[in-house]
Amino acid sequence: MGDNVSTSDNPAPGPEETPPDAAASEKAASEGAAGAAAAAAPVKGTGRRGETLLEVEDLGKHFPVTQGIVFKRQVGAVKAVDGVSFSVRKGETLGLVGESGCGKTTTGRMIMRLLEPSFGKITFEGHDITHMSQRDMRPLRRDIQMIFQDPYSSLNPRQTVGSIVGAAFRLQGEQPRQGVRAAVQELLEMVGLSPEHYNRYPHEFSGGQRQRIGIARTLALRPKLIVADEPVSALDVSVQAQVVNLLEDLQDELDLTYVVIAHDLSVVRHISDRVAVMYLGKLVEIADRADLYERPMHPYTNALLSAVPIPDPSKREGRDRIRLQGDVPSPLDPPPACRFHTRCWKAQEICKQVEPPLQELSPGHMAACHFPENTTVSATDLVAKAAVAPGPAPGPADSPVGKD
């Protein structure tokens, strides 16, 4: 089952590889100052911004569900991630949002190679790392690092901060020129902790400080890509803002690329350059930040945005709300065709029969919907394209019709 891989995909030049001018210039403008800082700082990866660093094609993870004790036979599969494609450019932040169970964390873990993908392809800096062995993966680990959600369970309570942060050097057999201790203390300062914290244990720190320790650990080997899985959701509001600012400063200083996985749409908007929205293991929309938040095309994105409570009592009345009914269906048996059709108010017959491909509806803005909003592209055109010619459709046709 897991082998109907990327053969059906046409690796046509995806729109993500050629960024739209508007987005590029906006980015350049916003990073003018940052670029100067980055040039002054000791930067390891000197890659030009805009190059593709990470590419994910039709990636999927199915967890088998078995029955029986001795002779386990597979009775089904939880389709946690079911064919997602996106790419991440050097120096940018891609936000991955969705509700719990949509597969965003599984996607992050597959990029980290903490989970073995069932199908699909992950390319990092031009190397296919999808099925790389542990040993071959190890040198790459210094380039790809992860920030975990829970600062309480992701730090070993029996190790000192020095040993936790210094572990990266030990494991990679690297001798920093100034010595491990000095290097760790430098890192601690970089994330806003004091070098004297070197000999303390995690329990002596507050949640926000622990998250900083976790960030220091990820930075030890100067990674190129950081996958941050809900980096601030366990923190108090005031501390959350500190960590968000810290992540942004570090990005400018060290030329980092982030994939930020989060459920909080306001945090994602603040931190991301581009945002991808997931629903039940599929990407439903991906676009530049401003585009996505101002002109969301997919009904699910619209519903998500309108569900966010707005901290302004004067806007309490008269907000145009979309209220979704019920819960997210089980990924064990997702609805056929468009997975959102069971909760979508625009759903028609076609949504239950033909899966809408993820395609570019305006420059840099991709959505998978038969009846997208905020666009002039007519639904019938899309349907015709999807039904007749799945292959040469513009953009990487995410999942051709009738694949399942």
Partner: protein, 367 residues
């Protein structure tokens, strides 16, 4: 002890908007719920933890009070205190809590137990750990209902199904026999709400009711609470750290820091003319979807204080960007909660004009 007397004197001095709350005066108040100078302290080996230290507020039927604060600010301890859920052996509760003319702090456990569930009920943050995994959802609602109402099992079951239907659970006649683990997170929270509302309580305390839920489900639950409040005319205390949730639902807001109230006012006061630097900090820390994206968030420096060892003077002073403007007063003297405007009370040493000026010139434009 001296501090306690201070506090009482303060309340006498500026107790204009609330009913006077001196020790001599223990007349039942006119409000539906009135909390006066509530203190909940826990003696521990490391020292006395003053989780709640002199909190006063009032609430009418059909109204919602939002209590906002970070973890450890004492908001959940307050709610458990109102319900009388603290173990009397290790919690020291003092002050007064008046619910519909009855005093709860001095009441016997039996008395409080009779009120709990019938007159006041609570929705907890995590519905999975607050429902018994061993009994069906229906069983738990039926049990709660029958404790306070002399009805047969059959009638109670019908009521349970009715309540589950009312909170939007599909096919309640079948789901009533499901166990909590068979429900999704959102449905469990609905079932909790059904259980809390089964005896038609007049006071509903919701402690982070939507924090564990996804944003679309959160919206459903908030809508539900709003509708149910309209229907039952109950008073709701909404405890949360999410200012968005508070802004959607509350009439009044109480901002807590270090076990004390730092700002108390209507929702418009607190969101449109906040006067406490901590409230400014909370507003600046939040990325907002309804505004242009700001380049930087404006966080509060430092971390929330330990309740055992609160900073002297104003508990917020080590994190306050304006503490120096008072010439050291913030570190020496604890500010009282004073009226900044009718009904809008703030505990800050900064002069009122200065606060308004800072908000208008420095904070508001950056939000």
């Amino acid at each position: 002890m001296a501090r306690k007397n201070d506090k009482r004197d303060d309340e006498m001095r500026d107790g204009t908007s609330t009913a006077p709350a001196g020790p001599a005066d223990s007349r039942p108040p006119s409000s539906f719920l009135e909390v006066r100078d509530l203190r909940i302290h826990f003696p521990t080996d490391d020292g006395l933890v003053k989780s709640v230290d002199g909190l006063s507020f009032q609430l009418e039927r059909g109204k919602t009070l939002g209590i906002v604060g970070e973890s450890g600010s004492g908001k959940s301890v307050t709610s458990l205190g109102i319900l009388g859920l603290h173990n009397r052996r290790n919690a020291r509760v003092s002050g007064e809590i008046w619910l519909d003319g009855q005093e709860l702090v001095g009441a016997s456990e039996e008395q409080v137990r009779r009120l709990r569930g019938r007159d006041m009920a609570m929705i907890f943050q995590d519905p999975l750990s607050s429902m018994h995994p061993f009994y069906t959802v229906g069983h738990q609602i039926i049990e709660a209902y029958r404790i306070h109402n002399d009805v047969t099992r059959k009638v109670a079951r019908k009521h349970a199904i009715d309540m589950l239907g009312r909170v939007g659970i599909p096919r309640p006649d079948r789901r009533v026999d499901d166990y909590p683990h068979q429900f999704s997170g959102g449905m469990r929270q609905r079932a909790m709400i059904a259980m809390a509302l089964s005896c038609d309580p007049e006071l509903l305390i919701a402690d982070e009711p939507t924090t564990a839920l996804d944003v679309t489900v959160q919206a459903q639950i908030l809508d539900l609470l709003r509708d149910l409040q309209r229907e039952f005319n109950s008073a709701i205390i909404m405890i949360t750290h999410d200012l968005g949730v508070v802004a959607e639902l509350s009439d009044d807001i109480l901002v807590m820091y270090g076990g004390r109230c730092v700002e108390y006012g209507t929702v418009d006061d607190v969101f449109h003319a906040p006067e406490h630097p901590y409230t400014w900090g909370l507003l600046g820390s939040m990325p907002r979807l309804d505004r242009e994206r700001s380049e930087r968030l404006l966080p509060i420096k430092g971390t929330p204080p330990s309740l055992i060892n609160l900073p002297s003077g104003c508990a917020f002073n080590p994190r306050c960007a304006y503490a120096e403007l008072n010439g050291g007063k913030s570190t020496e003297e604890r500010p009282d909660l004073r009226d900044a405007a009718p009904g809008h009370r703030v505990a800050c040493h900064l002069p009122a004009e200065k606060r308004r000026q800072i908000w208008n010139d420095e904070i508001a434009p950056k939000l």
